[in-house]
C-alpha cells in the first residue's frame, strides 16, 4: 500500500461517497466528513513519521517509470503543509457541524469542502505540473462555489469576481505549462527542471513571470489581490477560515515557493520580484485593513498583509528567511482560521459583523472574546506566540541580507497590525454597554474547536525550540533552501 496517494484517495473517495450515502442527511454527512478528515490527518502523520527524519518518498501511478507514469512525491515541506492543512480542516469541520445548521443543503457544503481538500492535498503530493494544475482547478472550482454558498446577492457578486480572477490565474498557469511542454516536451517537474537551464533567457523569463502572476494571483499578492477581501469576507465563516487559513497558502504560497525555489532554483530576479510584491502587499494590506469597518473584511485584508511577510521570507532566502516564512505560514494558518471562526461565532449570535453595530461583545460572549484575543495577538505577533518569532526571524534575515528598509517596513506593519486589532478590541469587544448584561455564548460544540485551535496557536511558539525545530521545521527548510528538482537523479526516482 502506497501512502503518498492516500490523502488524495481518501478525500476524493469521501466526496463521492458522502452524496451517495447521505443525500439528505446533513448531520451524518458532517460526521462522515470529519471521520474522513481524521483519516487524512492520520495518513499525514504516518507520512511525517516516514519523511521528517530526512529523505523523500516518490511513487509513480500504475508503476510506470519516469516518462510515462505520473509522479507523486512527499518530502519534509509538503508533509508539513499536509499536516497543517488536515489539522485546520478537521477543526473547521467540527465547528461547521453547528454553524452550518442555519444553511440549507448542508450535504453539498461538506461535499464541496471535501473536494477542496482533495484538490489541496493533491497539489501538495504531486510532482507533475499538469497534475498540480488539475488539483489546483479542483480546489479552486470547489472554492468558487463555496464562496457563493449563502446564495445572497453579495455572495454571488464576490464569487463571480473571484471566479473571473481565478480563471485568469488558471490561464496564466496553463499558458506557462503549454510553453514548457512545447519547449521541453515534458511536464514532469524534475525533467523540465533539468531542461530549464538550456532554454533561451527570454522564454525562461516569460515562463517564470507567467507562473509568478498565476500563483501570485491565488496568493493575493498586491497587484492581484482585489478578489480576496470580497470572497473571504462574504463566504460562510468555516469557508472563510479554510480559504484564508490554508487555501491561499497551499494553492498560492506553496506553489510560488516550489516554482521559484525548487524548480527555477533561487534566481535573483525572482527573489527581487517577490520582495517587492511582498513589501507592497504587506503595506497595502495593512493600511486597507486599518480602514475596514466590517470585522471579516478587516481579517481578509490582514491575510493579504500577512502573506506579504511569507513572500518576503522566500524573497530573502537563506536559512533564516525560509524558516521565517515557514513559521509565519504555520502561525498564520492557525490564528487566521481561529479568527474567522470567532468572527463567525459573533455573527452567529449577534447577526452582524459590522464593528460599528457591535458593542461590548465581551459582556455577552466572554469565551469567544478570549479566543478572538488569542487569534488577534497570534497574528499581530505578541511575544510568546509563533508569529512574533517568525516576524523577528524575517526581520533579522532582512537585516542580515542587507535589506534594512524592508526590515523597517516589517516592523512598521507589525505595529500597524497590532494597532488595528487593538482598536477593534476596544470598539467592538471591550466597549461598555448600557442595560443588563445577559450571557449569550455560542454552544459548546462551536467553542470546543475554537479552543482547540487556540491551544495550537499557543503552542506554535514552541516550534522554535531546538529539539522540536530539528524534527519538524528543519527538514522543510532544507527542502526550501537546498533542494532542486534537477538533482533528483534517476537512481533516487527508482527508490
Amino acid at each position: 500500500m502506497n501512502l503518498i496517494v492516500m490523502p488524495v484517495v481518501i478525500y476524493l473517495g469521501a466526496s463521492f461517497l458522502v452524496p451517495l450515502l447521505f443525500r439528505r442527511d446533513g448531520e451524518k454527512a458532517c460526521l462522515a466528513a470529519c471521520l474522513f478528515t481524521i483519516l487524512g490527518l492520520a495518513v499525514s502523520v504516518l507520512l511525517a513519521v516516514r519523511v521528517f527524519p530526512g529523505g523523500r518518498l516518490i511513487t509513480y501511478a500504475g508503476g510506470w517509470e519516469n516518462p510515462m507514469g505520473i509522479a507523486l512525491m512527499a518530502d519534509g515541506l509538503s508533509v508539513l503543509f499536509l499536516l497543517v492543512t488536515n489539522l485546520v480542516s478537521l477543526l473547521v469541520l467540527l465547528f461547521s457541524a453547528t454553524y452550518m445548521k442555519r444553511y440549507t443543503g448542508t450535504v453539498n457544503f461538506y461535499v464541496l469542502v471535501l473536494l477542496m481538500l482533495a484538490g489541496m492535498n493533491g497539489v501538495l503530493v504531486s510532482m507533475d505540473i499538469w497534475n498540480i494544475f488539475v488539483f489546483f482547478e479542483i480546489a479552486s472550482l470547489a472554492s468558487f462555489v463555496l464562496v457563493a454558498f449563502g446564495l445572497g446577492a453579495e455572495e454571488m457578486e464576490a464569487s463571480l469576481r473571484y471566479t473571473v480572477m481565478g480563471f485568469l490565474s488558471s490561464v496564466f498557469i496553463l499558458f506557462a505549462m503549454a510553453m514548457i511542454y512545447g519547449l521541453t516536451g515534458t511536464l514532469n517537474i524534475p525533467d523540465f527542471a533539468r531542461e530549464v537551464s538550456c532554454l533561451p533567457q527570454s522564454h525562461l523569463w516569460f515562463i517564470v513571470s507567467l507562473f509568478i502572476a498565476g500563483f501570485g494571483l491565488k496568493m493575493a499578492l498586491v497587484p492581484f489581490h482585489s478578489w480576496l477581501p470580497d470572497a473571504h469576507s462574504t463566504a460562510p465563516a468555516p469557508v472563510s477560515a479554510l480559504l484564508s487559513g490554508i487555501f491561499v497558502k497551499v494553492i498560492g504560497f506553496y506553489c510560488v515557493m516550489r516554482i521559484s525555489l525548487n524548480v527555477f532554483g533561487h534566481v535573483a530576479q525572482v527573489k527581487t520580484v517577490l520582495l517587492l510584491l511582498g513589501s507592497l502587499s504587506m503595506v497595502v494590506g495593512g493600511v486597507m485593513a486599518y480602514g475596514q469597518k466590517n470585522i471579516k473584511r478587516m481579517f481578509a485584508y490582514s491575510t493579504i498583509s500577512q502573506l506579504g511577510y511569507c513572500a518576503i521570507g522566500i524573497g530573502i532566502g537563506g536559512y533564516l528567511g525560509c524558516l521565517g516564512a515557514l513559521m509565519h505560514f504555520i502561525g498564520h494558518a492557525f490564528s487566521k482560521s481561529l479568527l474567522f471562526l470567532s468572527a463567525g461565532a459573533v455573527e452567529y449570535m449577534e447577526g452582524t459583523s459590522e464593528s460599528e453595530d457591535l458593542r461590548g461583545i465581551n459582556d455577552r460572549m466572554p469565551f469567544t472574546t478570549l479566543v478572538s484575543n488569542l487569534g488577534m495577538f497570534g497574528i499581530a505577533g505578541v511575544p510568546p506566540l509563533g508569529n512574533f518569532w517568525s516576524k523577528l526571524i524575517i526581520i533579522l534575515a532582512a537585516v542580515g541580507a542587507g535589506y534594512t528598509g524592508i526590515a523597517l517596513l516589517c516592523i512598521l506593519v507589525a505595529v500597524l497590525t497590532l494597532s488595528y486589532f487593538l482598536r477593534l478590541l476596544r470598539t467592538a469587544y471591550y466597549s461598555r454597554t448600557e442595560g443588563k448584561k445577559e450571557k449569550r455564548e455560542v454552544p459548546v460544540s462551536m467553542l470546543a474547536p475554537m479552543f482547540a485551535l487556540g491551544a495550537v496557536v499557543l503552542l506554535t511558539g514552541l516550534l522554535l525550540l531546538p529539539p522540536v525545530r530539528s524534527i519538524i521545521l528543519d527538514g522543510a527548510v532544507r527542502v526550501m533552501k537546498d533542494f532542486s528538482y534537477r538533482d533528483l537523479s534517476v537512481s533516487v526516482i527508482a527508490e
Binding site: 500500500m1 484517495v9 443525500r23 500504475g62 508503476g63
Partner: protein, 156 residues
C-alpha cells in the same frame, strides 16, 4: 396545451434516441481501440437525453431518467473509477492494470481500461445531463423591478 415541441420533432427524437444511445455506448466500450472513450461517449449519451428534454419537456425525461438516479450515477461513476484505481494496489501500485490484457485489438484487450472508460462514461453522461437539465429548472421572469430568475415550480 400539450408540453414540448411539435409531433414531428417528438416522433423523430423518439426514433433517433435508441441509435444515439447505441452510438454512445459503443464509443464508451471501444474507447481503448478507436477514437472516443469515456468522456466523448458520455457526452453523446447525455446528448440523447438532452434531445428528449428539448423535444418532450423535462417532466417526461425525468420520468425515464429520474434526477435521483442521475445524481446517484454521477457519484457512483466517480467512486467506481477511484475504486478501480485503488484496486490497483492488488498489483502493488495505484492505478496498476491488474487484469489480464487479453488479445490485441479485441474488446477485451486493455485490462482495467475498459472499466475506467465505462465509469467515466457513466459519470460524464449523468453529470452533463444533470447540468443541462438544471438550466431548464430556472426561468427568466419579468417583474415590476426588472428581471429575475426563479426556480420552476415556484409561484409567479
Amino acid at each position: 396545451m400539450e408540453k414540448g415541441m411539435s409531433e414531428i420533432v417528438k416522433g423523430v427524437s423518439k426514433m433517433v434516441f435508441p441509435f444515439i444511445m447505441l452510438f454512445g455506448t459503443s464509443l464508451v466500450l471501444y474507447g481503448h481501440l478507436s477514437p472516443g472513450g469515456g468522456f466523448s461517449g458520455g457526452v453523446v449519451l447525455a446528448g440523447g437525453f438532452v434531445l428528449l428534454l428539448l423535444a418532450f419537456g423535462k417532466e417526461h425525461v425525468f420520468d425515464i431518467f429520474p434526477r435521483r438516479v442521475a445524481e446517484a450515477l454521477d457519484s457512483l461513476g466517480a467512486a467506481g473509477f477511484l475504486a478501480i484505481a485503488v484496486l490497483g494496489f492488488a498489483g502493488g501500485h495505484f492505478f496498476y492494470n491488474f487484469l489480464d490484457k487479453g488479445r490485441l485489438f479485441h474488446l477485451w484487450s486493455a485490462g482495467t481500461m475498459v472499466f475506467c472508460n465505462i465509469m467515466i462514461g457513466i459519470k460524464i453522461g449523468s453529470a452533463l445531463f444533470l447540468a443541462i437539465s438544471m438550466l431548464s429548472m430556472s426561468r427568466l421572469v419579468h417583474t415590476k423591478d426588472g428581471v429575475e430568475y426563479r426556480q420552476s415550480g415556484e409561484d409567479e
